[in-house]
């Protein structure tokens, strides 16, 4: 195979992506991977009020959503779900941010924020609908303050901006929080969302879960700079935090929410974390993940460091352990039961909810299809094998 571009001087192959971008540098960290409480003057005050009990609750949440992940993955392997996008490794990023929100805030997420959905109070049945393939989305956004997840990468960031604008028009101090991945930052929509949010000073928080990968593409292919470096050029202040550190995430989110609530406009948060599982249950990361990378990040596990911190505070009791285990077991049971309880939709429901108001064209198709289905009962079904006279 000959190519014409041997000796090209400017183009560099992708494997020269600066390694430092996949490392935890330049990040705010309040809990070290080994569980030490580090201090960071700008951030500490925002989590001073987090008591050891509350830390234990956060620990519980993280264990629970990891268990949700494990159970859903198992359900997928057992053929009960069509697909599951694991959040394994991103528990601190999801719990630390979602637990700082008020019920009247509104979340706009991607498909991966199932831990956030748990925090918002989405039922297990609703959580499973999409992945079981029975509905395009699981829950009523208004009941939980969380939009149905966007599959089109980045689209939800503009929705969050619009929602935030509306909330400010309404004179409330509700905030919209948009979750998206590192890969999403390359999409026009996400950049336009920053333009609009800055222009309108909309009370929106852009929460980027930089889990190092967009399916098989490393973050260095999307950006040569830290993703948090992007926002200031749009006029949006940003923070880069250890996304595996639940307190750092919490502090950053609180700073951003406070700014938004008090009229300071949008903030961008890059939570540096790691997708420890496959992109989805359909993915095989061994095709692209460098050896050793997973182990490296296992050492930075978001849950074990909180456990260690609790331990160091003498709060990691058997009682806590068993409470958390019990809760996780119960959740797993409820999740499975919720999943299996989801009924198959009626075929005729394929026509439901396309429009809010009657639509003559669709009504006609619906009528035709109903007549067609009914015709099977009238013996038309074997028309195929010779039901009618020609």
């Amino acid at each position: 195979m000959s190519t014409t571009h041997e000796g090209t001087r400017t183009h560099e192959a992708h494997d020269d992506i600066p390694v430092h971008l996949s490392q935890l540098e330049d990040v705010v960290q309040l809990i070290s991977p080994t569980g030490e409480r580090l201090s960071s003057p700008g951030f500490d005050p925002w989590v001073d009020d987090v008591s050891t009990e509350q830390l234990a609750d956060l620990y519980e949440d993280m264990v629970v959503v990891r268990r949700i992940d494990t159970e859903a993955t198992a359900l997928q392997r057992q053929g009960e779900l069509g697909l599951w996008p694991p959040l394994h490794g991103q528990e601190a990023a999801q719990i630390g941010s979602a637990r700082t929100l008020r019920p009247d805030d509104f979340v706009f997420s991607s498909y991966r924020e199932n831990g956030v959905a748990y925090c918002r109070g989405v039922t297990f049945t609703d959580l499973m609908r999409v992945w079981r393939g029975t509905a395009a989305a699981g829950w009523n956004p208004y009941e939980v303050g969380m939009a149905t997840p966007a599959v089109i990468i980045g689209a939800q960031t503009l929705h969050a901006t619009g929602y935030a604008l509306g909330a400010s028009f309404d004179g409330t101090d509700s905030v919209a929080l948009a979750y998206f991945g590192d890969g999403a930052t390359s999409q026009g929509d996400v950049n336009e969302a920053m333009v609009f949010a800055a222009s309108f000073q909309a009370p929106v928080v852009f929460f980027c879960s930089n889990n190092q990968w967009a399916i098989s593409e490393p973050v260095g292919l999307q950006s040569k700079r830290h993703l948090s470096d992007r926002a200031p050029g749009f006029g949006i202040p940003s923070m880069r935090v250890d996304g595996n550190d639940v307190l750092a995430v919490m502090a950053a989110t609180r700073i951003a929410l406070d700014r938004a609530r008090s009229g300071g406009g949008p903030t961008f948060i890059e939570a540096v974390t790691y997708r420890m599982g496959p992109h989805t249950t359909s993915d095989d990361p061994t095709r692209y993940r460098p050896t050793g990378e997973l182990d490296e990040w296992r050492a930075k596990d978001p849950i074990s460091r909180v456990a260690a911190l609790l331990e160091s505070r003498g709060a990691m009791s058997d009682e806590l352990r068993s409470r958390v285990e019990g809760k996780a077991d119960a959740v797993a049971r409820d999740l499975r039961a919720g999943c299996l309880s989801i009924p198959q939709p009626d075929p005729m429901s394929v026509f439901d909810d396309v429009y809010a108001e009657p639509h003559s064209g669709l009504e006609r198709q619906k009528g035709q299809y109903a007549a067609y289905l009914a015709s099977f009962e009238n013996g038309h079904g074997d028309g195929a094998e010779g039901g009618g006279a020609s």
């Binding site: 989305a137 503009l158 929705h159 509306g166 929509d189 333009v195 609009f196 639509h359």
Partner: protein, 366 residues
């Protein structure tokens, strides 16, 4: 649909067989307006009627839009109701989606037809699908206004007719007005609809004047229905937007020739009011459809196919389409060749009538 009625007015039926000009007896609330002026007044009324209505677009504020459709509305309603947006169509539509989720009824202006494509994803993957996706929990009462069509001697991307893309997209409603009265009522109906509406404005008819009953409220013809503008027994001629006026000219010319053309202003392109077209074709047995958009996969294809399904035994000839060619919209010097006009439509009328000299001969030779 939110309440939309501001007074009693002549029954819609009285419009149904009139021309697109004023009906014979002019009611009290009737004023002469250009189509552009009618849209402006319709928008003003929608803004006044419902606090949740917002206008969002490029240059719609101080400038009043490049066609002045939003003239003076920012002055009247302030910069939070009539919002100049940054220059990005996906941004405009996507922001409108979020506003709609929050309970607003955004009206987006796309400056010209050819600039809607950067917003295409937000329209077809979000606006069109959110009600379905959320199993009815979220409505998308968004109106997307698009000045469309050619005939104004413009440069590239300023004369396109992209309506078929949206009519093929489940979850959207697509309409087009052809005269000041409809412009006035239909824009208000579109904004009041809980479904998203692509609202195509025939830009070359913006300055066409007509009588407008400004109080036509609940009695107005529903937005989804076609209107028989002129009855006739020989040929059904279906048009919408800018070519409705041309279609009426065709009918007048044909009448001189003893051919009675029934002219239907389609008004709604999704859904199409096939009931009205069907009953006309069952009467005439002949159908001609005209639009500026390219022929392949245009609205004409759907209408021809559906009417053939519904009226096969009544048809005397294959439905004929008179459309723009399957080319990009040409430069101004060639738009006369590109655009359907009186002669080309009359030629198709000849064809469905089986007359000599029509392109039927060509078809047979091909």
């Amino acid at each position: 649909m939110t309440a939309f009625s501001t007074g009693t007015v002549p029954a819609a039926g009285s419009m149904a067989t009139g021309s697109h000009e004023a009906p014979a007896s002019v009611p009290a609330a009737t004023r002469t307006m250009s189509l552009a002026g009618a849209l402006n007044d319709g928008l003003r009324r929608s803004l006044a009627r419902d606090d949740k209505v917002l206008l969002l677009g490029e240059d719609i504020g101080k400038l009043g839009g490049v066609f002045r459709i939003t003239d003076k509305l920012q002055e009247e309603f302030g910069p939070r109701r009539v919002i100049d947006a940054p220059l990005a169509e996906a941004g405009i539509i996507g922001t409108a989606v979020g506003l709609a989720i929050r309970g607003y009824r955004p009206v987006c202006e796309i400056q010209f037809d050819g600039f809607i494509y950067p917003g295409f994803d937000q329209i077809v993957a979000q606006v069109a699908k959110l009600h379905y996706r959320t199993r009815g929990a979220v409505t998308m009462p968004i109106t997307i206004r698009v000045p469309f069509g050619g005939g104004i001697g413009a440069v590239e991307h300023h004369s396109e007719s992209p309506e078929a893309y949206f009519a093929h997209t489940a979850g959207l409603r697509v309409v087009s007005c052809s005269n000041p009265q409809d412009a006035h009522t239909m824009i208000q109906q579109a904004i009041a609809s809980d479904d998203p509406v692509l609202f195509f404005e025939p830009k070359r008819r913006y300055w066409q004047k007509g009588e407008v009953n400004t109080e036509l409220g609940a009695d107005a013809l529903p937005i989804g229905e076609a209107r028989v503008l002129q009855p006739g027994s020989d040929v059904t001629l279906v048009a919408y937007g800018p070519l409705v006026r041309t279609a009426l000219d065709v009918a007048a010319a044909a009448a001189d020739d003893g051919v009675a053309i029934e002219v239907i202003d389609l008004r709604s392109l999704a859904p199409v009011d096939f009931t009205t077209v069907e009953s006309s074709v069952r009467k005439t047995g002949r159908l001609v459809i005209t639009h500026e958009a390219a022929q392949s996969g245009g609205m004409g294809a759907e209408i021809a196919a559906s009417i053939t399904e519904r009226c096969f035994d009544w048809l005397e000839a294959a439905p004929a389409r008179v459309t723009g060619f399957d080319t990009p919209y040409p430069p101004a010097a060639l738009e006369e060749a590109f655009l359907p006009d009186l002669d080309r439509i009359l030629d198709a009328v000849d064809r469905v009538l089986g007359r000599r000299n029509s392109l039927t001969g060509w078809e047979a030779r091909a």
